[in-house]
């Protein structure tokens, strides 16, 4: 076993520990989502990062997918709620296909990040 392989085993072991510890898992996923969504205010990579955190620490693939869907719904509610609050909802929907694409886009990016659960 090389030094790098040793580190890798250590990382995998720690991730497995986090995945099996509900409170720790919840805390890290929450922090990751918050950080990712905050970053998404400035760059869309934040959506991938939020999804990646979910995928990395979720207990199962199913849990990762459900959590990713939940985060997307939170993004939708926040985005549309914000537009509603400032009286811009009808203007947002006046953009038609662009708005539809914009609403689907976070789903795709979050799921892309969360898909890491399927290979780890």
């Amino acid at each position: 076993m090389t030094l790098n392989e040793g580190h890798l085993v250590g990382v995998v072991t720690r991730i497995a520990l986090i995945r099996s510890t509900a409170s720790l898992r919840l805390a890290l996923v929450s922090v990751g989502i918050l950080f990712g969504l905050s970053l998404a205010l400035f760059h869309w990579v934040g959506f991938i990062l939020a999804g990646f955190t979910i995928g990395l620490f979720a207990a199962s693939v199913k849990e990762a997918m459900v959590a990713a869907l939940f985060v997307w719904i939170v993004v939708l509610i926040t985005f549309l709620g914000y537009a509603t609050w400032y009286g811009q909802l009808d203007r947002v929907f006046s953009l038609g296909e662009l708005t539809f694409l914009a609403l689907i886009l976070p789903l795709a990016l979050i799921f892309l990040g969360a898909a890491v659960r399927t290979v780890t």
Partner: protein, 779 residues
């Protein structure tokens, strides 16, 4: 396990594929645009600017009303205009940049190949040099210092606030605004109202067909009896036939940069002796291009020394059309002849004037092209202006707009006008574009005045008409007191008191028709067809007779949709439809009241017939001769050119063409439910993409109705106002929305009310929905 490993490899490949897609530049560009939170499209999502901001020129308060109209107050005019610049710099920033790029000839730097020809035209005419001459014309005046503050406000907004969505789409940053840029906007509006190559087209028509055909298709006046000011003066000099012509291809090219045909306006004033309130009522609705956002910007400005409310152009700091506390004013276009064309004997680098050979002033201009190769053009200038040598043309263009004009000072001085004397002082500075100006005040004064500088062309000391092509080498058609790209003295131009005017008229109205039958000076090649004017005069006369003139009746008059052209030709059409066994068409036209209603079928048939007959009788034969559709004569000619005219030996038998157009209209009309399903608003953003353009709605009216609407290009009353100086009530409506940010609730919030003719009060005290405070940072 082998299966699990394979599945994981497949999934890992899927993730890698997904990431690889994100690495594709065009995909990343879309995500950069659309991602919620960071996407460029969403920059305006959330609160519009509000709160407290530094005000380097002093305190000012901006209160936005329920329709996104800023009401700006300050003790100092510079502080006021800094705040005004700031709000325009947010509300209309992209439009400002678009307009200046058009006139500077720098559109291609952001739009690419598609605008190269436009850039070349605007570079060759050197509008930016003309705008610089404007700056020289008002330098060291108070107006210049006010404009400086306004420009600073635009630049602060540009630096501090979110960029418009359009710049995200085109991926560029907007440069700082300058005083010259504001003058470019003035030049743009002047070009929109006076830029005309009709003289060249008439010459090309004469060359291609015959001088008599050219004269009849392009007459110098329409035979009607509703001039603005009835009664004549001295007879004007005769018209001459063209003696040379640039190649049609060159005229086609130049004509493609003309403003769209059909721009005009309605304006009238009724004195207090005929109104319910006992004070004058003034109404005005200018018909310019309709676009999203509108060409007009609604604003209210107030200092202790004046208050104005109305509309201005983005890039212009003062109210152009509107009201003050004690007066109201409005305009229609004349349209004056302020552009002449000169041929020269040319020898490489020089052109001859009399016995002298003068070197062309030359330079090179480089047109940057986004995604393409830059173009460099050599520009040549004569003492009469830019020398155009495209498509084998060799013609110099002289336009009053190439001089330094002071119109902005006139607009500013309107803020204080309170009677005839101060009015004349203000409008004497109005150099361009010449306008029919209508005025009324709370003291009961009313006035009609043609304003603007119009040249008296001289050949051997004698005044000559301007609708001819001049031999520049022979020194004919000279304008005294004018040199392009400098500040003119205007010595050889028509003095203000020799332009048509009426002091305290009881009723005066204007719909761009002929002003007087025999003007003292030549001032226009042709005025508008009289269809709107006839209707306006008839209805105003009737209203005066029955004493029913108040705000409501004048708004109703602006909304009138009676088509006088339809009234003139429909009986003949109905008869020919009967002969052609087009029973439904015959019945519809026979029973029609000539109202261009959206829920009716007859106006649909009529408009379809008109379009088709115009094509068959004019567009097609002109195109067959190599002349584009800019040569198509007016609808007056279409309706009145006799069947035995020489033209129809070229175009075909008139009656056969009328019938063919009727048959086509009957067939085409079956595709629509009614006129409203055919004629829709179609008010688009310059990008012509759906989400930036206004939604379509059925639109009543036509190009010949007072409620004016042209489908293509879209033209209409972008601003409507009716002001009663007796009751001091005022009502108006903007076509679209005041804030040009697509996510703003005020992007299109006035549109349906505008279509319905539902006006709003133009109050001084708004219901505040948002506030900006500018706090002075220096004395």
């Amino acid at each position: 396990m082998p299966f699990s490993l394979t599945r994981r490899r497949l999934l890992a490949g899927g993730i890698a594929g997904g990431l690889a897609v994100l690495a594709v530049p065009s995909v990343r560009e879309y995500i950069d645009l659309l991602a919620p939170g960071s996407g460029g499209v969403w920059g305006d999502l959330g609160p519009a600017p509000s709160g407290t901001i530094d005000g380097p020129y002093g305190d000012a308060t901006v209160r936005y009303d329920e329709e996104g109209v800023p009401h700006i107050e300050a003790d100092d005019e510079r502080a006021l205009q800094y705040a005004h610049g700031y709000v325009q710099g947010y509300d209309r920033l992209f439009q400002l940049d678009l307009f200046r790029r058009q006139l500077r000839g720098t559109l291609s730097a952001v739009a690419g190949e598609v605008t190269v020809e436009s850039d070349e035209f605007h570079r060759r005419l050197a509008f930016e040099r003309a705008a610089e001459a404007n700056a020289a014309a008002i330098s060291r005046t108070e107006t210049a210092s006010i404009l400086e503050a306004y420009v600073a406000g635009i630049n602060t907004a540009k630096a501090d606030l979110t960029a418009p969505i359009e710049t995200s789409l085109l991926e560029y940053d907007i440069d700082s605004w300058t005083m010259t840029d504001s003058f470019l906007i003035e030049k743009l509006m002047a070009w929109e109202l006076t830029g005309s190559f009709r003289t060249l087209r008439r010459a090309a028509l004469a060359e291609t067909f015959s001088p008599s055909i050219a004269d009849d298709l392009y007459p110098s006046r329409y035979d009607h009896d509703v001039p603005v000011l009835p009664g004549g003066r001295d007879a004007i000099m005769d018209r001459s036939s063209p003696n040379w012509s640039p190649p049609p291809a060159a005229v086609n090219w130049l004509s493609s940069f003309e403003p769209p045909a059909g721009q005009g306006s309605n304006c009238w004033v009724v004195s207090g002796e005929h109104t319910a309130s006992g004070g004058p009522i003034l109404a005005n609705d200018p018909h310019l291009s309709l676009m999203a956002p509108p060409i007009w910007y609604e604003v209210s400005l107030e200092t202790p020394s004046f208050a104005t409310r109305g509309v201005t152009f983005p890039g212009t700091p003062f109210v152009v059309i509107g009201r003050s506390r004690h007066a109201a004013w409005g305009f229609t276009n004349v349209p004056a002849d302020v552009m002449d064309f000169y041929s020269f004997e040319v020898d490489d680098e020089a052109y001859r004037i009399g016995d002298d050979w003068l070197a062309f002033e030359t330079d090179e201009a480089t047109i940057s092209v986004a995604g393409g190769d830059d173009r460099t053009i050599e520009r040549r200038f004569t003492n009469h202006g830019p020398f155009i040598d495209r498509h084998d043309a060799e013609v110099a263009i002289q336009w009053t707009g190439f001089g330094g004009t002071r119109t902005i000072a006139a607009i500013r001085d309107m803020q204080w006008v309170d009677g005839h004397d101060s009015l004349l002082e203000a409008v004497d500075q109005w150099d361009l574009p010449p306008q029919n100006f209508v005025y009324a005040d709370i003291h009961g004064n009313t006035r009609y005045q043609l304003i603007g500088k119009i040249p008296i062309r001289r050949t051997d000391g004698e005044a000559v008409r301007g609708d001819q092509l001049f031999d520049g080498s022979a020194g004919v058609g000279r304008w005294d007191g004018f040199e392009p790209y400098t500040v003119p003295t205007w010595d050889g131009f028509i003095p203000l008191d020799e332009l048509p005017h009426a002091v305290d008229p009881a009723v005066v109205s204007n719909a761009n028709q002929r002003i007087v039958d025999d003007p003292l000076h030549y001032h226009a090649e042709i005025h508008a067809t009289p269809y709107r004017a006839e209707r306006l005069v008839d209805r105003l006369d009737a209203a005066v007779a029955d004493g029913s003139i108040d705000i409501e009746s004048m708004i109703a008059l602006q909304q009138d949709i009676h088509d006088a052209l339809a009234e003139a030709v429909s009986p003949e059409l109905a008869e020919m439809a009967d002969t052609a066994d087009l029973d439904a068409v015959h019945e519809a036209l026979d029973d029609w009241d000539y109202q261009m209603r959206t829920d009716a079928w007859a106006p649909l048939v009529f408009e379809l017939w008109l379009d088709r007959f115009r094509t068959l009788a004019f567009t097609d034969p002109l195109e067959a001769a190599g002349l584009d559709d800019s040569y198509v004569p007016s609808d007056w000619i279409l309706a009145n050119l006799p069947a035995d005219h020489d033209w129809f030996s070229t175009a075909g038998d008139r009656d056969a063409l009328v019938t063919e157009a009727l048959e086509w209209a009957a067939s085409e009309a079956a595709e629509y439910d009614d006129f409203g399903s055919f004629q829709q608003t179609q008010i688009d953003h310059p990008f012509e993409v759906g989400f930036l353009s206004y939604p379509r709605y059925p639109m009543p009216g036509s190009t010949h109705t007072l409620k004016n609407f042209r489908r293509d290009p879209t033209i209409g009353p972008g601003w409507q106002q009716v002001i009663d100086l007796g009751s001091e009530e005022a009502y108006g409506r903007l076509a679209g929305g005041n804030i040009g940010r697509v996510l703003s609730p005020h992007y299109a919030d006035q549109l349906t009310a505008w279509i319905e003719g539902n006006y709003k009060p133009l109050d001084w005290s708004p219901t505040e929905t948002r506030r900006l405070e500018f706090r002075g940072t220096s004395s």
